[in-house]
């Protein structure tokens, strides 16, 4: 009887290992397409030269304690341009309450960024991710993509696609410093 028991234990172990491996593989496979940067993760730091104020730079790490919206956009992206006025409108209202916006353009040539920025008379910081390194760090695929960063530097929300004024305000409230 002893032998039979041993055999059963052996078979149970082998089968469990195989079943667990299968489950593990399926879980890993299902998560394969999920982005590495998710809500709750710390936002990768970056530092870019400001186009709207010559000689100035802006670094995410310096903005700790503030809620930050990072907006990836480009001039050839129509929906990106459509949400810019909403951002500007709310920026005037919330900037004093501790919300910062960084509009990261992924265009190639600065002329087009500045032309557009000036034509709408925008006021939030405008930067140019010339080498697309920030874009790579944030795994941006569609444009626009907006990251809403909590005052503690973690990602509160990732939004792919354009935003309405109402939703933008709603998300600002989420990251508003206490």
């Amino acid at each position: 009887m002893e032998k039979k028991k041993k055999r059963l234990v052996f078979r149970t172990i082998v089968l469990s290992v195989l079943v667990l491996t299968l489950i593990f593989v399926l879980v890993v496979n299902a998560n394969q397409d999920r982005p590495k940067l998710e809500e709750g993760d710390p936002a990768p730091n970056f530092k870019l030269d400001r186009l709207d104020q010559e000689g100035e730079t802006i670094e995410l790490a310096d903005l700790e304690g503030q809620g930050v919206m990072i907006n990836f956009w480009a001039t050839y992206c129509e929906p990106c341009k459509e949400e810019m006025p909403y951002m500007d409108q709310l920026y005037e209202e919330y900037n004093d309450q501790g919300i910062e916006i960084i509009a990261v353009s992924v265009d190639k040539n600065e002329i087009v960024i500045n032309n557009f920025y000036n034509s709408l008379d925008l006021s939030f910081p405008s930067v140019h991710d010339k080498n697309e390194t920030v874009m790579e760090a944030y795994e941006v695929i569609p444009l626009p993509t907006s990251y809403f960063i909590n005052p503690d530097g973690t990602i509160e929300r990732v939004v792919q696609g354009p935003l309405t004024l109402e939703r933008l305000e709603e998300y600002f409230l989420e990251i508003l410093p206490q």
């Binding site: 059963l8 149970t12 089968l15 299968l22 530092k47 265009d107 190639k108 040539n109 002329i111 080498n131």
Partner: protein, 542 residues
């Protein structure tokens, strides 16, 4: 000791479920149905009549599952199902090969109609990454492991315990048999010499002789299964980023770009992209083939690349300090490798973009100077030596006209358009021009100045795939072990000959696990110069 173990007449104690006694080979009564020996005269020797555990008890759920996967039939069915599904998956292109901007939900039905719709709805468009396909392959793996364990252990024991002296029935019921041989001492000695010269190991016990060779061939199947299991394990490792990275980057000539998926540690510069085609004049032998096709046949795609590594800490977005680590020519079939990563030539856009355009401004045939517009870095304003100022009012890298006027479709200067306004101290007038398709159009009839395009510089873009794969050696080891196992199992044959004395005469039984044709030829040589009679093949097809 198990209650159910069986004691053979020869005294050997066998496990429950044994078909042929491990020691003397005598069929054990009541167990002959397991290997089907009750229906045939020739004994089934595939597993030496050993007690495969799965065949013995099937009481608990675990035992039943075990028995299920240890069946070769189940394994074969799993392979057949996978085979059929794999084949079905090639009817239409997989999602990643579909090459269309349409989403899959529309692509398959629009392109292929009803069958395409079914293909999509069954999930065949993404078959090889799907959970059910992975599960199927995994089940083949499970079957592989359990089948191997279930057969290897008892087979090994049976072969280890076999005795030289076998039961008469065992010898008589082998496939090749020669009975009633009158053999002298000389005959036996000659036989032994012949056997040894054929590399048999010859054992003797009480007048009984057993000759055996190539027992290791029996392990071939298990060795190749181990190879396959290693390959499956390697495939699991490959799912992790630490072991395997795959990415893609487009680099334009003259451009330096961060290599994705390297934690922004490495950068690549495209120094030059080379595209060559075959020349039917120079290579006469290909003339017919080259003139048969409309487009030139490419001969070489090559990126002269420099790989840099970022030194020190750089905050993302800032220009890093770069140090050259590798320089090389990336060609198809010739990747450039650095620090575990490799760059492969994967895509090309030959001369697809404008790098720069040079213009001259003149007034009544007198030049007012020239300027060069660099499509990536140009300033918004050019001051010419004559005091003329050129402003770039609009820049449209890939020009398209929409309801709201000119705009750009992308950021890549593939078909650039530009609005220029020129201010000249003499004319004191702001004159506007439109640049498109390498030409200048004045935007007013009253323009006095003339702007001309004097030179355009084009550039190519090179698509490089970035790979890192530390699982390759493991796959290699798995493949090598598989091949060794296959060769070991298929090209050597486990052969045994039993010479059984009986009433002054000799009974000879022969077994080989494969290749009976070769065994018969070998027997001719083994028995040459002796008085051994004809062997009967008790299983020959009529």
């Amino acid at each position: 000791m198990s209650v159910k173990s069986v004691k053979c007449d020869c005294g050997h104690i066998n496990h429950e479920g044994t078909v042929l006694c491990e020691a003397c080979g005598k069929p054990i009564e009541g167990n002959q149905h397991i290997d089907g020996n009750d229906e045939k005269h020739v004994l089934e020797m595939r597993y030496e009549g050993s007690a495969r555990r799965s065949k013995t008890y099937k009481r608990t759920f675990i035992d039943k599952t075990w028995a299920f996967f240890s069946s070769v039939k189940v394994g074969v069915w799993l392979i057949v199902i996978t085979l059929v599904l794999s084949a079905l998956g090639t009817i239409y292109p997989q999602e990643k090969f579909k090459n269309s901007p349409l989403p899959s939900s529309q692509f398959y039905v629009e392109e292929y109609g009803l069958t395409g719709k079914i293909f999509y709805q069954l999930g065949f468009h993404n078959m090889y990454d799907s959970w059910w396909y992975i599960t199927l392959v995994a089940l083949i793996g499970v079957s592989l492991i359990i089948c191997s364990i279930d057969r290897y252990v008892p087979l090994r024991r049976a072969l280890k315990n076999q005795k030289t002296k076998r039961h008469e029935i065992f010898v008589k019921r082998q496939r090749l048999v020669s009975e009633d041989n009158n053999l002298t001492e000389d005959d036996l000695n000659q036989l032994k010499t012949n056997l040894k010269s054929k590399r048999y190991k010859v054992y003797e016990d009480d007048g009984h002789i057993m000759a055996e060779k190539n027992r290791f061939s029996r392990w071939g199947a298990y060795v190749n299964h181990i190879g396959l299991i290693i390959i499956l394990i390697a495939a699991i490792f490959r799912m992790f980023e630490v072991m395997h990275v795959e990415d893609y980057v487009w680099v334009r000539e003259g451009e330096t770009r961060v290599i994705p998926s390297t934690n922004q540690e490495y950068y690549v510069k495209n120094e030059e992209f080379i595209y060559e085609v075959y020349d039917p004049v120079q290579q006469e032998q290909f003339r017919m083939a080259l003139e048969d096709v409309e487009n030139p046949v490419p001969k070489n795609f090559q990126t002269n690349a420099i790989i840099y590594k970022a030194v020190g800490e750089t905050i993302t977005g800032q220009e890093p300090e770069l140090e050259e680590v590798e320089r090389g020519e990336v060609r198809l079939n010739q990747p450039v490798t650095f620090d575990g990563y490799s760059l492969y030539q994967a895509g090309t856009q030959v001369e697809s973009e404008y790098d720069s355009m040079t213009f001259t401004v003149s007034l009544e045939d007198e030049s007012l100077g020239e300027f060069t517009f660099d499509t990536d870095d140009a300033p918004p304003q050019f001051e010419l030596e004559s005091g003329t100022t050129v402003n770039v009012d609009g820049w449209f890298p890939e020009l398209e006209f929409t309801e709201s006027g000119p705009s750009s479709f992308s950021k890549f200067p593939r078909n650039p358009g530009m609005i220029l306004s020129v201010e000249n101290p003499e004319t004191n007038n702001l004159e506007r021009f439109f640049y498109l398709q390498e030409d200048i159009v004045p935007l007013s009839d009253e323009n006095q100045l003339a702007v001309e395009v004097t030179e355009v510089d084009r550039r190519s873009a090179s698509g490089l795939s970035v790979k890192k794969d530390y699982t390759l050696p493991l796959f290699g080891v798995g493949a090598a072990i598989f091949m060794i196992g296959v060769v070991q199992g298929l090209y050597w044959y486990h052969r045994r000959i039993w010479i059984h004395p009986k009433d002054g005469k000799y009974l000879i039984g022969v077994h080989t696990n494969k290749n009976w044709f070769g065994m018969k030829q070998e027997l001719d040589k083994v028995t040459s110069g002796t008085n051994v009679g004809e062997f009967t093949d008790q299983q020959e097809m009529k």
